[in-house]
Symmetry: C2
Subunit: 368 residues, 2 copies
């Protein structure tokens, strides 16, 4: 990062002194001065400076070069008053370290899909500090650059979602292979999920030890499953990640996309925060989940395409729906779209910054 850019971040962050733990407090369902905001894929193609960076380096080069990953991670924070930074990386970075030959075309593509027990057993649970040291370096550098002003979020893919790609060999196409495997050879699928869970636990631990103050587990394809199969495969795999992760724990966000039928079960994953997409209104999510878990979401990413006015109106609806209880992190219901206008993101930031919350309890108004 250039000195100018560094000063820029330092200056804009300095102007917001004291905001650092708003996101972490909300993860723990503690009162906050205002709802924290971050955006899935906030370092992405909707940013012209990110597109310019991608002209200089491939996606994988960004992931594997700490300076570039940090540069990308900081881009959205230079523009917008966001409450967390997420490390720029990809859920397949640690999977490649497990011995799977992954390329991006642009979705993850496996040279040899995992189809047999031997394929499963060929995957290893690697020492992350040795196989993907650059991830730890990037997290550590990012935390250092931010100087505690906002926390760094680490992340990984959930075992079922990673398995879906590994077994299919590519993204898209209905994931026929993993859904067949579930019926044909459930024991093999469990073995694959166990291996992935162990590796992901170690990968999250590596990021936490490097400076991540929260982590998110992305379960993009869990919604394919009915409740019984979710309970049999995807859910225990997430639990295994958290069990092996152990202590000390940072807040864990678990986000199963397009899984409105699974959120009650997902609340038993052990995660502190459940990501919710727009299919479940937040007031309904609150009713279904009770107070034992915080929620993150769920502005429709397409609302932002319609410009600042629609973004503002819909964001206010989300905040209303979440209600005044502590434990809500504003985010989109899925990653921000490449065609999103910058002005819409600015409007979103303004909404949380300007909205005076209606404190439910006295301590909701305390400075944090």
């Amino acid at each position: 990062m250039s000195d100018a850019a560094r000063n820029n971040v330092a200056a804009s962050a300095g102007a917001r002194a004291g905001m650092s733990d708003r996101f972490l407090r909300a993860c723990r369902r503690q009162p906050v001065d205002r709802t924290p905001l971050w955006i899935m894929r906030q370092a992405g193609r909707y940013l012209p400076e990110y597109r310019a960076l991608r002209e200089r380096a491939s996606f994988l080069e960004l992931c594997r070069t700490p300076e570039l990953a940090v540069e990308a991670s900081l881009m959205p924070l230079r523009r917008f008053d966001l409450d967390a930074a997420i490390i720029f990386s990809d859920i397949f970075v640690p999977v490649a370290a497990m011995g799977a030959a992954v390329s991006f075309e642009p979705g993850p593509t496996l040279a040899h899909p995992v189809r047999t027990r031997d394929d499963v057993r060929a995957l290893r649970v690697p020492a992350m500090a040795e196989t993907v040291p650059f991830v730890g370096q990037a997290v550590s550098m990012l935390a250092h650059e931010l100087g505690g002003r906002v926390p760094v979020i680490g992340f990984c893919g959930a075992p079922f979602t990673l398995a879906a790609y590994l077994v299919e060999g590519r993204s898209g196409g209905g994931f026929e292979q993993i859904q067949s495997l579930m019926f044909r050879d459930p024991a093999m699928l469990r073995e694959l999920l166990d291996t992935l869970a162990d590796a992901m636990a170690d990968y999250l631990r590596f990021q936490i030890d490097s400076g991540a103050e929260a982590v998110q587990i992305f379960d993009t394809w869990a919604g394919l499953l009915g409740p019984e199969d979710y309970r049999a495969f995807a859910l225990p795999a997430v639990r295994r990640v958290l069990d092996r992760l152990g202590e000390p724990r940072v807040p864990v966000i678990y986000f199963a996309l397009a899984a409105p039928h699974l959120i009650d079960l997902a609340a038993g994953s052990g995660a502190d925060v459940l990501g919710v997409c727009w299919r479940v209104p937040l007031d309904q999510a609150r009713r279904r989940l009770g107070r034992n878990v915080a929620i993150q979401g769920n502005l429709h990413p397409h609302a932002l395409l319609a410009g600042p006015e629609v973004t503002r109106a819909r964001a206010l609806e989300v905040l209303e729906s979440a209600g005044p209880e502590p434990g809500h992190i504003l985010n989109l219901g899925h990653g921000i779209l490449p065609s999103t206008p910058i002005a819409s993101v600015e409007a979103l930031v303004e909404v949380v910054r300007n909205r005076a919350p209606a404190p439910k309890r006295a301590e909701a108004a305390e400075p944090v």
Copy 2:
């Protein structure tokens, strides 16, 4: 159809005299001797004779040639003891008649996606008997061939699902256009949905007048929507189809795929039967929907790929889950997959044929 084939169907159907209204009775939540069964996409690529037919004719030729459409529709009934025939066609047949230039590559592809109000207004609600006479002829021929032994199901796409394709221009890819349109220009989307609803009502009426004894409305993409947007767009469009369809009514099945969060709302569509995919266990569906609607589903299509034994076990679970109350039609939770073994379908047929239902009430055992 050849005479030999005709005799074959007549003979095998003759052996099952008296089964004709099992499916229709279940649609109306009346007691039946056993659960009726049909299979979405039952005339499809998993059948070798269908693949052979497709070597002689393109997909669109099959749709547009009554003799061939009837031939395809009858194929599954020659092999399996199914309780309904569905006319071989495609949801885009009537959309092409509205003036949209659709091709199949193999998903529906629009030469000119619908992007402006003028595009919407260029779509017409055509006289179906003049623009797609071959559909009526095929339904009529199929009903004649079956001689009332099992009913013919007609079908159409739901307005929202058709709009998703029309606006996007192609299938797949996340349907960014329709979801953006919903926020950018809801009035234009409503106008498009209204036009589609009117055309689909006329199209269903045309099929009913030609001999269809039940119809299914496929809402494959409704599950993209959150409840509020579903209530604002997709649901009123389905209601408009049913309002315009009017009387005399045959049973209407409404199937929204991957929409576990919408079934309570979908129960207010006015349909007699709700199709349910595997994401909602049928006992839960029964609890949520009450007794005012029958349910159809929901065996996981991938279970059949694992062979007859798994198919049998899973089908029994579905029947158990549906319970003894009248008003269940066994089907898959989505179309049968091309790689499905014939033996799995045979096992599925055996399960319903051999299972002695536990009659809840005396009349459940009456002959039908």
